[in-house]
Symmetry: C2
Subunit: 132 residues, 2 copies
């Protein structure tokens, strides 16, 4: 699955988060997309998702970079289920660099215009089920 076009899409969305280019970031989401903010708490639609990302940027004091790790895509018709690693790099107020890798799950929809739009974005992956 090394050459799937969704890998480039995901990498570009991650770069937009780090650059705080939220106009570009919102282009990756479908109008009715759902973003999981925490287990049991979601943002639905671009307006709510934008607010969530603005909040995240604030929480990390505008020092958050995201990059993709391993990505696996399973397609069915115009739907793609993505399992992905996301590597979060930030700097604490004390100046310490911190890197965290999380495994998330997303659903993308392929549009007639040959674009992939994120429909569900769950950065918690199976963490929604609690610990193993």
């Amino acid at each position: 699955m090394s050459s799937h076009p969704l890998k480039d899409v995901i990498a570009a969305a991650d770069r937009a988060i780090g650059a705080e280019d939220f106009d570009t970031l919102m282009d990756f989401y479908a109008d009715d997309a759902t973003l999981v903010l925490a287990p049991g708490l979601v943002a639905t639609g671009k307006a709510q998702i934008l607010k969530a990302f603005l909040g995240v940027a604030e929480i990390f004091d505008h020092r958050l970079a995201v990059s993709p790790g391993k990505i696996e895509v399973v397609e069915s018709g115009d739907t793609a289920l993505v399992h992905r690693e996301a590597i979060f790099d930030t700097v604490t107020p004390e100046g310490e660099a911190v890197s965290t890798t999380r495994r998330g799950t997303c659903v993308f929809r392929h549009t007639p215009e040959d674009r992939w739009l994120c429909v569900v974005d769950n950065g918690y992956g199976h963490g929604l089920l609690g610990r193993c």
Copy 2:
């Protein structure tokens, strides 16, 4: 998310696997559904998916029961991303009962006829990415 109708759908599909009622089981899948057989190996469409389940029944000597554990559903429009536990109970040739719990990921599509059809069924969940 304790009352989501997909919980009943998933429980009924699990029962159909144990009962080897494959006609009923196939009704849960969309025509273009993809089932992950192993990392990097998928069955696409009902004919291939049916063959895969027939093979699984054979491998487990017709002694496989599946039941749902924890299930979390994230919806967006007519799409639902499901994280689920599946509890597999079987009996070895030596007569020993074995129970295994796995965490899988599925995508369901809601149809205009008010049905949920499984579009992607990945019993491996994040296992597709290898070990943490």
